[in-house]
Symmetry: C2
Subunit: 333 residues, 2 copies
Amino acid sequence: MKKIINDPSTVVTESLRGLAAAHGDILKVRTEPAVVYRADAPASGKVAIVSGGGSGHEPMHGGFVGLGMLDAACPGAVFTSPTPDQVQAAIEHVNGGAGVLLVVKNYTGDVLNFETAAEFAAAEGLDVRTVVIDDDVAVKDSLYTAGRRGVGGTALLEKIVGGAAEGGYSLDECEALARRVIGSVRSMGVALTACTVPHIGEPSFVLEDDEIEIGIGIHGEPGRRRVPHQPAEQLVQTLLEPILDDLPFSSGDRVLLFTNSMGGTPLVELYLAHGIAERLLADRGITVERRLVGPYVTSLEMQGMSLTVLKVDDEMLRWWDAPVRTAALRWGA
Amino acid sequence: MKKIINDPSTVVTESLRGLAAAHGDILKVRTEPAVVYRADAPASGKVAIVSGGGSGHEPMHGGFVGLGMLDAACPGAVFTSPTPDQVQAAIEHVNGGAGVLLVVKNYTGDVLNFETAAEFAAAEGLDVRTVVIDDDVAVKDSLYTAGRRGVGGTALLEKIVGGAAEGGYSLDECEALARRVIGSVRSMGVALTACTVPHIGEPSFVLEDDEIEIGIGIHGEPGRRRVPHQPAEQLVQTLLEPILDDLPFSSGDRVLLFTNSMGGTPLVELYLAHGIAERLLADRGITVERRLVGPYVTSLEMQGMSLTVLKVDDEMLRWWDAPVRTAALRWGA
């Protein structure tokens, strides 16, 4: 295993130190338990948006902390759920008096630990709501999941609902908007190569030289099937069709298209795939209103990509376009 | 070779199509010859900044086209210099009447082809200047270079001089500022793995399981030496010391620190390395005034990183902080 680390047991803590040093104007980091929070937290009178999950998916979630997006992120160990005390610490730290919305990806450990923290907070009289995102159409139940997994749609949800919270939405309104996004977003991914978790030291799975895995999970969980490698045209179609058929999306729909790298895919390939996806959507009469292209929801150094399609309306577009100032997403500020 | 492509011979063209689709509000693309240019080009009365080089280093340079940075970028084939007619087309397209500055990385093919285009433009009466950046301290002459190679410092130069051009600097002033940046910036990189050029289909070089290459070039050109893999603490020191000794940088200096991924290195590792570099600079009494962390000057899917240190003054900081709106760098706009 060749990684730029000192010791597998301190990777996350040391990385958070670097994150804090790089973006001190946007975020701060506390450890024991580890929380990344907005430099100006708590934002008084604003609904606080808190998320988190295993590390190794950077920039999600720490890179999404800042004005117009998350108030705090709880980074677990690599590919491991954050603990309830991390989530509790985050809630306490960013609570501005208008309630807290927890954004949880649908993995069993994440759901349980966020739920436990929410119960503690509720017992202390805080108004805490939880939404669970499960946008991955690849498989129903999975290695770490009852139901579908939460993947790329999470980044879009956090931007849109974070923007709305910054814009003065109440907790009820934030929760309702989040549920609408969850109901309107679908994703699917593919792996060309595996990735290696530092404290394991071996690739999570093995793909042959000419083999890819369709429907891969962001922790390398099994997808739908392993197939021979295929040209980009066919690959993008293989990812896009199950997404479009699932909601379903249809002619006349307006969408946000998110072409995401799993981490190790060069941008030259990612843009190539994005161009194909744009064309396939246009062919179906679907209008791409906004785009996001880049490595935002990753699996360490895994080569591969995912597509996420969100059916948008004017309200979602308004908060997508609203100013954001985080390490990973920034515009208008 | 597993890549998300259709045909090695059309990778760049198809990728540019995706880039244009993704960022139509920022840039436009023309082909035959291929040029990426600002959507609002030409900017009348503004000095135009033009760069380019082989593809495979994305987001450099196409992702740096837009308000406050480049007016145009000329993407060559993967790891191949752009042709003179690309550069000529770019110059003609973005010339706003205040002159054109060509920013060229020091590779023999790039220097020759930009020079040829500059001569044509001069013959037509245009005021065109050229600056050549050679910030890589690893090796003096190299596979494609007489003298040092141009690497990570290019992104910093393009932001700072692009900001100044947007702010109304004359061609003389832009050129002088660019030369000052070149005189003040130094870089060095390391490869943990090789990368594969699509039309070659095989890795450019081979590193053993526990071997890394110090001083690697961004096309995989040989560096200083191959050594056993080492902990991040030692690795960052190995990169930073030759940089600091070269200029030299000394206690009391103010710097911009750029921690760059070669493409395939996870952000969790990159931030970890960045934190170490910040601490080592502080230990030497050097003040980090600004930071950039991410995959900006890449070598396809290569795992590895580079450090770039720029000795800054108030003028450079002013134009670094100025608004920028490109696919890859964006703030204040």
